[in-house]
């Protein structure tokens, strides 16, 4: 009977977890309805997106975060466009890049008032909350009606998710 308790590290054949395979598995499980896998995917992606945008957008942190959120929203709303037979990372990268280009085109015309300068001395959390709210409307505009009203009810009016679902 083979020894089934050999720890993985001791095995010389332990495969490194390929990030593409890991993310693709999370994406597919999310597509099948696994909300934990989907949450994990979005969380991991948000870190990568922050790094990606942070290096390319000369802007305040909250603007980078707006871009991260917009992209996460797009990843969520447009996931029907992902072909499960194809690699995940090129898809995610193309979404991020599309949003980055869109942002660069838009921000050239926008007058930017950096709120975080005034609040930098105080809790960074507060500044983030404040600036996020002004862009919430624009973020909400992109959602279909059902999801938009859900977000508005929960975040702005304080209803719990469970209460809203039964309303």
């Amino acid at each position: 009977m083979p020894d089934m308790t050999v720890p993985a590290e001791a095995s010389t054949a332990k495969p490194k977890v390929d990030p593409e395979e890991r993310l693709r598995a999370l994406m597919i499980r999310g597509l099948d309805g696994d909300s934990r896998a989907h949450r994990q995917l979005l969380t991991v992606l948000s870190g990568h997106l922050r790094g990606y945008f942070g290096r390319r957008v000369r802007a305040a942190t909250h603007e980078v975060e707006d871009l991260v959120q917009e992209t996460l929203l797009a990843v969520h709303l447009k996931r029907d466009s992902y072909d499960r037979a194809l690699p995940f990372m090129p898809w995610a990268y193309a979404v991020a890049r599309y949003k980055l280009i869109d942002h660069l085109r838009r921000s050239n015309r926008r007058v930017h008032v950096p709120l975080e300068d005034a609040g930098a001395l105080f809790a960074a959390e507060d500044a983030e909350q404040g600036t996020a709210r002004t862009d919430l409307d624009r973020l909400l505009e992109q959602l279909p009606f059902r999801q938009r009203s859900l977000l508005q009810d929960v975040k702005l009016h304080g209803l719990s998710i469970e209460h809203r679902s039964t309303a």
Binding site: D34, R36, Q69, L72, K78, D80, S81, L86, E128
Partner: protein, 212 residues
């Protein structure tokens, strides 16, 4: 809103999505728009005597050309609707199909007696054919746009053009139920012109309609 809260909300909205949802959306759009255009052909233009027509090779030459073009264009649209997907040979196949009909049309013209050539090429309906195909393409194009707005075309102009070709080609196929013209030279010119007009319309409007 904090990103963790957004993620929390999005994760709660995790509905299972069936595989192949994108292709299904596009095919449904084609069918829905196609039904509208078919109704326009039957009720507005009236079909030619179809029992006779379906026995003729020229009927299937026309249907074959526009039918294959519809499929090739739809594959192109599907690939354009997914971020990061390589187009590979799909646009080449579209171009090849058009090339084949052009060669057939040119061959027909050159092998015909010179006196007949102009009649062969213009037929009876060359003036109305391209505008009618464009008109019939509009409901199909509108349906494809609705489907594409749920997908993610990272090149909106290209996606619009490809959707225009698909819509125009399907419209031309349905138009073939009415149209009595038989010459490959006619089809190669005026059907293609109508489809090209739909493609141009798609390229121009796609830029705005397909942004996300």
């Amino acid at each position: 809103m904090r990103t963790v809260d957004l993620i929390d909300l999005l994760a709660r909205d995790t509905q299972p999505r069936p595989p192949g949802a994108a292709t299904r959306k596009l095919l449904t759009a084609l069918a829905a728009g196609g039904v509208v255009s078919l109704a326009l052909v039957i009720l507005g233009l009236h079909c030619q005597p179809l029992e006779e027509a379906v026995r003729q090779p020229w009927f299937w030459m026309k249907a074959g050309y526009t039918g294959l073009l519809t499929i090739a264009a739809l594959v192109t649209v599907r690939r354009l609707s997914a971020p990061g997907t390589r187009l590979k040979a799909a646009p080449l196949v579209v171009a090849l199909i058009v090339l084949v009909i052009l060669v057939l049309g040119a061959g027909q013209i050159f092998s015909a007696a010179p006196a007949r050539r102009l009649d062969l090429w213009l037929g009876h309906t060359w003036k109305v054919c391209p505008p009618l195909i464009l008109l019939l393409a509009l409901p199909i194009y509108a349906a494809l746009v609705l489907a594409l707005r749920n997908l993610a075309p990272t090149r909106p102009r290209h996606a619009g053009a490809a959707a225009g070709i698909a819509a125009g080609a399907l419209a031309a196929t349905l138009y073939g139920l009415h149209c009595p013209e038989q010459a490959a030279a006619f089809v190669a010119t005026w059907y293609t012109l109508g489809i090209a007009a739909a493609a141009a319309f798609g390229a121009l409007t796609g830029r705005w309609l397909l942004r996300w």
